[in-house]
């Protein structure tokens, strides 16, 4: 409607301009209008493209981490090697090292090559052994310690293939790159291909990515998110238990009881400012107060959770206050009118009505806390943790990792296979966030009341 020629008053007779002909100035103005509109549309499209680009980059890099290449191998658990005393005593078995186990796997690989006849020229048993992850001896050792009675028998294992072989089937390693790589040769890849046609080597879903602990620099194929997921879960549990009651209590006071005075203003200004303090400053606070002053252990979920609680509190308080405000005053008046005390009116009537809004705010606050990384770096959660934390409450004080910190950790490693792992971990993180936000939206849809 507004692109209608605006200078019609001047468009009569003398200048030769007509109402029916679009003048020069109008054309310019309409063109400017169109340009502005296009710019707006371009901005919107850029924003959406950025979202899709981000998702596409993460998904294309990370989805492959949910599958993993395994090699099926029958290993003879030689009692001569594993248990020289022949008594299966736990103390003696405890002395088995991964070095004593390596020859068993080598022998098994040799048998496999002899049996299937896939031996390729230029590949000796040692090269073939390198197809198997360095994690495999450790896996075998755990098996032997847990099942000493199986010693002396031939047991079939599904062992992890090495990171390079795994990368070959995910397109990360090619024949050309293998030729330049000290860790793998094209002949080894060739052998892997033949093993695959024999059905010995196969790629399938990688459950251990969700359950296994982190692994060292040289064995990306074994690295998993188990400890990180557990650590994040512990932290979220504590954050929920602390931030929800404290936040709700503070909001009730500020919204319903606090008198209008300096002190209340001070609290309000504080909360508004805390919401805007950079997250890394909370990390410094955690390091200085909780670790150095209070002497809590480094890398422990409890410290991370305390820091994240302080960060989440403003979110919870703001959401709770909005929810309390949305409950109409008539509810309070009615309760007070039939003789309830102010406290009874709030706890028996206002709070239950505000509960869906409060829960929504709490879940969104939790989602924020789940993705927070920077403060956790400072309180030592970057440490390499292989042990699962114990069951709560002791486990809250054991070292653990967290999902976003694990991502950061993996980006700092040399092997490119860790980029895939990091992206995979991000996908897991985003799925958790998606679930939490979906629950929050559902809660709001289902229980929100319009007054």
């Amino acid at each position: 409607m507004t692109d209608f020629p605006a200078d019609q008053s001047a468009a009569s007779g003398a200048s030769g301009r007509s109402l029916l002909k679009v003048g020069e100035r109008t054309r310019k103005r309409n063109a400017a209008e169109k340009r502005f509109r296009m710019m707006g549309l371009a901005a919107v499209i850029f924003g959406i493209l950025a979202l899709f680009g981000l998702m596409a980059s993460i998904l294309s890099n990370g989805l492959s981490s949910f599958t993993q290449t395994y090699i099926a191998l029958d290993v003879y658990l030689d009692p001569e090697v594993l248990d020289k005393g022949g008594n299966r005593a736990p103390e003696d078995l405890g002395r088995i090292t991964t070095f004593t186990i390596q020859p068993l796997i080598k022998a098994a690989v040799q048998d496999l090559i002899d049996e299937t006849g896939v031996s390729a020229e230029g590949v000796n048993a040692n090269d073939a052994f390198e197809l198997i992850s360095k994690e495999a001896p450790a896996e075998l050792r755990r098996f032997v310690l847990n099942n000493p009675d199986q010693i002396g028998e031939t047991v079939s294992f599904d062992l992890l293939a090495s990171g390079r072989i795994d990368g070959y089937y995910k397109g990360r390693v090619t024949m050309e790159s293998a030729a330049l790589d000290r860790n793998i040769s094209p002949e080894q890849l060739d052998l892997a291909d033949r093993l695959k046609t024999e059905g010995v080597l196969e790629t399938r879903f990688n459950w251990s990515f969700f359950t296994a602990p982190d692994a060292s620099d040289t064995r990306p194929e074994a690295a998993g998110l188990g400890v990180a997921i557990l650590g994040s879960a512990y932290m979220m549990l504590i954050v929920l238990v602390l931030a929800l009651p404290i936040g709700v209590a503070a909001s009730i006071y500020l919204e319903e009881f606090a008198p209008q005075n300096r002190f209340t203003d001070l609290i309000e200004v504080n909360i508004a400012n805390l919401a805007a303090v950079p997250s890394i400053v909370f990390g410094i606070l955690g390091l200085a107060i909780f670790i150095n002053f209070a002497g809590l252990p480094q890398s422990a979920p409890i410290v991370g959770a305390l820091v994240l609680t302080l960060m989440t509190l403003p979110t919870v308080i703001i959401a709770t206050r909005a929810a309390l405000k949305a409950v109409p005053p008539s509810i309070r008046d009615a309760a007070l009118g039939v003789g309830a005390s102010k406290m009874q009116a709030i706890f028996h009537h206002v709070l239950p009505l505000a509960a869906p809004g409060i829960l929504t705010g709490a879940i969104i606050g939790l989602a924020q806390a789940l993705g927070e990384t920077a403060p956790l770096l400072l309180i030592g959660m970057v440490a390499f943790v292989r042990e699962y934390p114990a069951a709560p409450p002791e486990g809250f004080f054991d070292p653990a990792s967290a999902l976003p910190v694990q991502v950061y950790n993996w980006t700092q490693r040399g092997d490119p296979a860790f980029v895939e792992r990091a992206s995979g971990a991000i996908i897991v993180l985003l799925v958790f966030l998606l679930i939490m936000n979906a629950v929050a939206i559902l809660l709001r849809r289902r229980f929100e009341r319009r007054w």
Binding site: T2, D3, F4, A6, R29, E33, F36, R37, G40, L41, A43, V44, G47, A50, L51, L54, S57, I58, P245, I246, A249, A250, I252, Y253, L266, I267, N270, N273, L274, A276, V277, P278, S279, I280, V281, I284, L285, A288, F293, A294, L310, L313, P314, S341, M343, G371, E372, T373, A374, L377, L378, V382, E394, P404, Y408, T411, V419, S423, I426, L429
Partner: protein, 486 residues
């Protein structure tokens, strides 16, 4: 007893207090509810609150104070001679704590009993290998003095824990019994328990103040320590950033400030025009179908954690800029650069700017738009000449909030901007920021009292002051603007 079981016992006592208090109220009123001032449950509640809250507060304070006190008394016993060259007493204390922990483990596993431990002498027995058996690894052999200190530490700790359990339980019991005995039908139990609850509510809202005090206190305290070791004027005005592990480091703040401002500038250059245009387009032009799709999509960007953006910068944007722009133009070979971090941070800030501006544009009264259209202005002319000027203070506020966010942002710059502190104009060079240096100085095993670590607190303090003043300014402008139209 672990603190966890102690808490459970106190809570159980409180529960018992609730039921017995309620029963006593009914009994003293001779089963006639009308004689009671309050509902019976309030009598129970008051007993429960008096049982649990003081005891739990005491427990919390005890857990906080005991380690500090024991540490202070032990640290005095360690002679200077057993402190290793170039180390600090706090490092010896770490060993002391580990040994004490190891001794506890030895007893827990039943390898030795209490008497064996008290007879154990580091000069006769190889303590290190004994501890290694239970999984406590020590860096060197244990000196007799340190081992003695560890034994003392353990004794004090055990005695302290025992005292704690007794005192906390006694507090709960005594105050609970007192609250129980004073129940009379005329007691104003509801008022008492409501006042108690209100005090708890006030306490909860004080957490915000305590947090601020904690932040400011810890930053100031450690920064002062740093400035005692390193002159403040050199920190703020030197252009050389070169931390060394063996002392003699240079901590010039200026290269970090430059990197921070440069990255934030690029980010705002991306985010402000795009975010603003998105807000304008969605508010003034877009049809409802586009809006219902585009608005949530943009808001999703706001909910994505910054580590995701950081990874995006590291694996996609950085290599892309390097291979397609920086190298062909001969501007640099680094995939982490100011441009990478700035661009990705800009994307992160788009939803922030657009949602803030959206609120502001929507709060410009419709009458102003109508007036402008009535005078024959086109839609874009209305936006540019009427709506934007009217919304300008709010948009400036949004801009300042976004700037404060950009300056405090950590993960994107850690993964995208690089670690080299340099003063350079080329946006395709790697530069570093204040937050990156805080992370790199505080992660890794550095000694806590050295200037190399303490500098992070000075950086944190500067960052805090910077972002805080930007926020205060922004809120002031926004608030002033709001008053105009309401």
């Amino acid at each position: 007893m672990t603190p966890g079981t102690l808490i459970l016992i106190v809570l159980a006592l409180a529960a018992i207090g609730y039921f017995t208090g309620k029963r006593r109220a009914i009994q003293t009123a001779k089963r006639d509810g009308r004689k009671l001032h309050s509902l019976p449950s309030y009598y129970g509640e008051s007993v429960a609150l008096f049982t649990a809250v003081p005891a739990l507060l005491l427990l919390g304070a005890w857990l906080f104070v005991q380690p500090v006190m024991i540490e202070n008394s032990i640290i005095g016993q360690i002679p200077e001679s057993s402190v290793p060259e170039g180390g600090a007493k706090s490092l010896v204390m770490v060993d002391v704590r580990r040994i004490a922990e190891g001794l506890n483990l030895i007893i827990a596993e039943g390898r030795l009993n209490e008497e064996d431990i008290s007879d154990m002498r580091a000069d006769f027995i190889d303590v290190r290998s004994r501890l290694a058996e239970v999984g406590v690894a020590l860096g060197s052999n244990v000196e007799p003095v340190v081992f003695q200190a560890a034994k003392e530490y353990r004794d004090l700790d055990l005695a302290g824990n025992l005292a704690r359990d007794i005192v906390v339980l006694l507090t709960a019991l005594l105050i609970g019994i007192w609250a129980f005995w004073r129940i009379r039908p005329t007691m104003r139990a509801r008022n008492i328990s409501e006042t108690f609850v209100k005090a708890l509510l006030i306490g909860a809202s004080l957490v915000a103040i305590l947090t601020t005090v904690g932040i400011v206190g810890s930053l100031l305290f450690e920064s002062l320590q740093f400035f005692r070791l390193y002159p403040a004027s050199e920190f703020y005005f030197s252009t050389e950033w070169n931390p060394q592990f063996r002392g003699g480091s240079d901590f010039g703040f200026l290269p970090l400030l430059w990197g921070t401002l440069y990255v934030s500038f690029v980010a705002l250059l991306v985010a402000v025009p795009i975010g603003l245009m998105i807000a304008i387009y969605l508010a003034e032009y877009a049809g409802s179908r586009l809006r219902s799709f585009a608005k949530p999509a943009i808001e999703i960007l706001a909910g994505i954690p910054t580590i995701v953006y950081g990874l995006f910068a590291l694996i996609t944007v950085g290599p892309f800029l390097r291979d397609w722009i920086a190298q062909p133009l001969g501007l640099g070979n680094s995939s982490s650069s100011v441009m990478t971090a700035g661009l990705v941070m800009g994307i992160m800030l788009i939803p922030f700017i657009s949602s803030l501006s959206d609120d502001i544009i929507n709060s410009v009264p419709q009458a102003m738009r109508d007036g402008s259209y009535g005078l024959g202005a086109t839609q874009s002319e209305t936006v540019r000449q009427v709506i934007l000027p009217a919304a300008l203070p709010g948009i400036v506020g949004a801009f300042l909030l976004a700037a404060s966010r950009a300056i405090g942002e950590t993960m994107i710059v850690v993964l995208g901007a690089g670690a080299a502190a340099r003063l350079d104009l080329n946006p395709f060079e790697a530069m570093t920021t204040v937050t990156v240096k805080i992370v790199s100085q505080l992660t890794g095993d550095t000694e806590f009292a050295s200037p190399e670590t303490l500098v992070a607190f000075a950086l944190g303090l500067t960052l805090f002051v910077f972002t805080l003043s930007l926020n205060v300014l922004a809120l002031y402008i926004v608030r002033k603007y709001r008053e105009q139209y309401e």
